[in-house]
């Protein structure tokens, strides 16, 4: 079994996998027990499995473990130490979640876009979130949460 060194939520780990094509999604969920990253479609179509790979939002179901080797991965569990990332606070303030299953992916996409020196605007974030699916239809409140995050990032 091959070993892969991946830094997950700040901790570098050596992970064994029998198949180099094993998606990062299942490494996170089943090998590391980080089940906040959700399986929705396995085809990159729903966005539920979105994590940050070297700061970029990526569909973890589309990233083979061999491609994640040597990279820094952040999952929803590691987005903040105290659950008070601006996106998390905005999502709570707008009471966005219904079933909640898609929300970690939505938050990770938004968080990646507002990080860094040139945070994205609401339009760009909404375009990225339009590649996600929320079957409960919480899009309206999510837009309000995004507006909060964007306003905060500008302030």
């Amino acid at each position: 079994m091959a070993k892969y060194s991946i830094t997950v939520n700040g901790r570098t780990q050596s992970i064994e996998a029998g198949n180099p094509e094993m998606p990062l999604l299942w490494v996170l969920r089943d090998t590391l027990g980080l089940t906040g990253t959700k399986y929705g479609c396995g085809a990159g179509a729903c966005g539920s499995c979105t994590v940050h790979v070297d700061g970029q939002a990526m569909r973890s179901c589309q990233v083979p473990i061999q491609a994640a080797a040597g990279r820094k991965v952040t999952t929803i569990e590691g987005l903040s130490e105290d659950g008070r990332h601006p996106c998390q606070l905005a999502w709570l303030a707008e009471d966005v979640a219904q079933c909640g299953y898609c929300q970690p992916g939505m938050i990770m996409t938004t968080a990646a876009l507002v990080a860094g020196k040139k945070p994205a605007g609401a339009e760009q974030i909404e375009a990225a979130l339009s590649a996600h699916i929320c079957r409960c239809g919480t899009y309206g409140r999510m837009q309000q949460a995004v507006a909060r995050v964007v306003a905060g990032a500008k302030a």
Binding site: P23, T35, G40, E81, C99, C136, G140
Partner: protein
């Protein structure tokens, strides 16, 4: 700050290293080691004041863990910040844990209020005894009892030991609605902090010691059988531990989900598809059409619709068709089962814990009491999880594997094994007299039986079906309603609002056709038809025509009914409305603004909803369910369609079965009206009127009537 929130902050403070540890096992949160005060199965208070409220319905996004807890907390006068939720498992104390029909809040309202009030009275009495004052001089507030005259105060935690020794009052005094502190306010979802940090545990996230992951090959055609299978390639997949046979399927057991799914895909399996192996959508519609030509079962009749229709100077008729629909819950089917020592333990995202318990017991040949069902958080239900099928798969695999397993479905499995909502044809006819008054109406629905709930039985109680047809709220002197249910050769099941969407789509669109023919405004026509005797009784239910008229007027006023929506360059704009009463309870009216482009492309710009669902428990929850229902309804109206080819569902991904996304969001306006003192349902109620409101708006914009869903641009050119 709620207890769950504080707990999570405490955990979070451990830092990033802790975050990499496996998540805690399901079901530990909220358990109090020793709770001295447990006056009923619904609540417990510890000496530290921590208050455990028990929720006996499934949380699938409708907010029931928050709303049911709010009802208890209101009467208990608990401090909401100290509340912890515990999910009930079915058993002698929890005999109705099923979640469906938007019924959880209404059916729990009385027992939970009484449980909260009884506990409050005991705590007040304990404090009064302690202070030697009359209980009537004391009041409960924010988790404490206060002696009004002296200002003395004792927290619930200090009182639990004494309160536990008192008898439980049988008829406690309930609070006056005017004194509600929590009910009717906007309370954020109690699971919110867990959700936004990834710590909320759904079925698929649950882990139990010693478990393996399992993926199954089953025949995608109803009635198909396994002919032979070959496991060599599957067993060669890294991470695969074993392959076991169950009745109707082959299961691959592995160390992780990916290996299980890969191993399953590597299985070589030959199926005999059986008698349904050649079914197509066309054949299924053929069966509906042939059934629709036969006499239907009469389920409501007043006057003589047949004769009046035959002699009416103006007659209209139309058929409306709605397609097969998938649930496409974002969390795919999954369940963990452990079968050991003559007992069984199940962890399942289910809407039917009792049913899972009963059917698992039957499968294993053990008593239901030997089956424990843990209900997990559910990543979308919408009626799909009323079926016990996927839980039973896990039980069968766990028995064969002789160790705990988690069966997980891929997205394709989830489509192929869905219990689709059946296609429906609704035939309507109306007769107008010489003055243009609607004097006769017939409504006949033809659809497939919902196989999820058991075998087809032609003599089964039609249960007010067709819903939306039988409880037609309009005052029409001659009315006849018929129901034509046929056996289904594919797996079918309940879907958000079940029979209402197809029948309300037909009824409300047809009413607009009548309005157009008789030169009446759609709002004015409805209000005239709702001015008859109110309420009227239909079956066991009362239908509040006057209430529906009130709600309709609000939706019309708030939407600017009567004016034409703003014109957009190159597009035709229109406004449409629809209204409905769901099983004599929640009253709802919706107005949609749309525009249609030259190529028939439809954009929905705004949906205004007015709703009276009785006493509001959680306003944020009610508004959220309306928003959710509108989006669900738009996916249904504009996109969703399952087709059948070679006896199986032809769609296997979100590429084939698109649902509404954020960039297609209309503006949503929701007006929640004060109404009945008893809360009524809200999860399903906002769905049925969406498609007809949009279709009526399209007709207003283009003159073209939409009579089949989903709405197709080609039909509007």
């Amino acid at each position: 700050m709620s207890a769950t929130r504080r707990q999570f902050l405490k955990n979070g403070a451990l830092g990033a290293a802790a975050l990499a540890l496996p998540i805690p096992l399901f079901g530990q949160a909220g358990k109090l080691a020793a709770a001295p005060f447990a006056p009923s199965q619904w609540l417990r208070i510890g000496a530290d004041g921590r208050t455990v409220l028990v929720v006996a319905h499934s949380e699938m996004g409708q907010g029931v863990r928050t709303s049911l807890a709010m009802i208890l907390a209101e009467e208990l006068e608990a401090d909401w910040k100290t509340v912890v939720i515990e999910q009930a498992s079915p058993g002698p104390n929890y005999t109705n844990t099923g979640t469906g029909g938007s019924d959880s809040v209404e059916s729990s309202w009385k027992p939970l209020r009484e449980a909260g009030a009884a506990a409050r009275e005991m705590l007040v009495e304990a404090a009064a005894n302690k202070w030697g004052v009359p209980a009537s001089d004391c009041r409960a507030e924010m988790g404490a009892v206060i002696h009004s005259a002296s200002g003395r105060k004792a927290s619930y935690g200090e009182l639990v030991a004494a309160a536990a020794a008192l008898p439980v009052p049988k008829q406690p005094r309930l609070k006056d609605a005017k004194d509600f502190r929590l009910l009717g306010t906007r309370v954020p979802r109690i699971d919110g902090p867990g959700i936004v940090t990834g710590r909320a545990v759904y079925g698929i996230d649950t882990r139990v010691p010693g478990m393996l992951f399992a993926a199954l090959a089953v025949c995608p055609v109803k009635g198909g059988k396994l002919v032979r299978y070959e496991v060599t390639k599957a067993k060669a997949v890294p991470g695969v531990r074993d392959v076991v046979l169950i009745d109707g399927g082959v299961a691959v057991l592995a160390d992780d989900t990916f290996a299980a799914l890969s191993g399953r895909d590597a299985l070589e399996v030959v199926w005999d598809d059986g008698p349904n192996g050649k079914l197509t959508t066309e054949e299924l519609w053929g069966r509906i059409d042939r059934a629709a030509e036969k006499p239907s079962r009469s389920t409501r009749k007043s006057g003589d619709a047949g004769t009046v229709l035959a002699t009416a100077p103006t007659r209209l008729s139309a058929s409306y068709r709605t397609p097969f629909q998938a649930h496409a819950t974002l969390e795919p089917g999954n369940t963990i089962a452990k079968v050991e020592g003559g007992a069984c333990e199940i962890w399942s995202p289910t809407q039917s814990p009792q049913r899972v318990q009963k059917e698992a017991a039957k499968l294993l040949g053990i008593a239901p009491e030997k089956v424990t069902v843990h209900v997990t958080l559910i990543g979308g239900g919408f009626g799909r999880r009323l079926g016990a099928d996927y839980a039973l798969e896990a039980v069968a695999v766990a028995r064969a594997a002789k160790r705990p397993v988690q069966v997980v479905w891929s997205r394709a499995d989830d489509f192929l094994r869905d219990r689709v909502h059946p296609a429906t044809r609704v035939d309507l006819a109306a007769g107008l007299d010489a003055s243009g008054r609607l004097v006769a109406w017939t409504h006949t629905a033809t659809t497939f039986h919902l196989s999820m709930f058991g075998d087809f039985d032609a003599n089964e109680d039609p249960d007010g079906n067709p819903w939306g047809g039988c409880d037609n709220p309009y005052d029409i002197p001659n009315l006849a309603v018929g129901w034509n249910e046929i056996e289904s050769p594919i797996h079918t099941g309940a879907w958000r609002a079940v029979y209402y969407p197809a029948n309300v789509f037909a009824r409300e669109c047809f009413l607009d056709e009548i309005a157009a023919r008789s030169g009446k405004d759609p709002l004015a026509l409805r209000l005239a038809l709702l001015s008859g005797p109110s309420p009227f009784t239909y079956g066991k239910r009362k239908v509040d025509r006057a209430g529906l008229a009130r709600v309709l007027k609000v939706a019309a006023a708030k939407s600017g009914w009567g004016a034409v929506p703003a014109a957009l360059k190159g597009r035709r704009s229109g406004r449409g409305l629809a209204c409905n009463i769901y099983h004599g309870s929640t009253l709802i009216a919706q107005v949609a603004d749309v525009s249609v482009g030259a190529k028939g492309d439809v954009r929905v710009h705004r949906v205004v909803t007015a709703v009276d669902c009785g006493q509001v428990v959680n306003l944020s929850g009610v508004e959220g369910q309306v928003e959710s229902g509108v989006i669900w309804g738009l996916s249904y109206a504009m996109k969703g369609e399952i087709t059948i080819a070679a006896g199986r569902v032809a769609q296997t991904s979100f590429g084939d079965y698109p649902v509404l996304r954020m960039d297609e969001m209309p503006k949503l306006e929701t007006h929640v009206l004060a109404g009945n003192p008893v809360p009524k349902g809200i999860g399903e109620m906002p769905v049925p009127c969406v498609a007809p409101a949009v279709a009526n708006a399209i007709a207003a914009a283009t003159g073209k009537r939409v009579r089949r869903l989903p709405i197709r641009p080609a039909d509007l050119v």
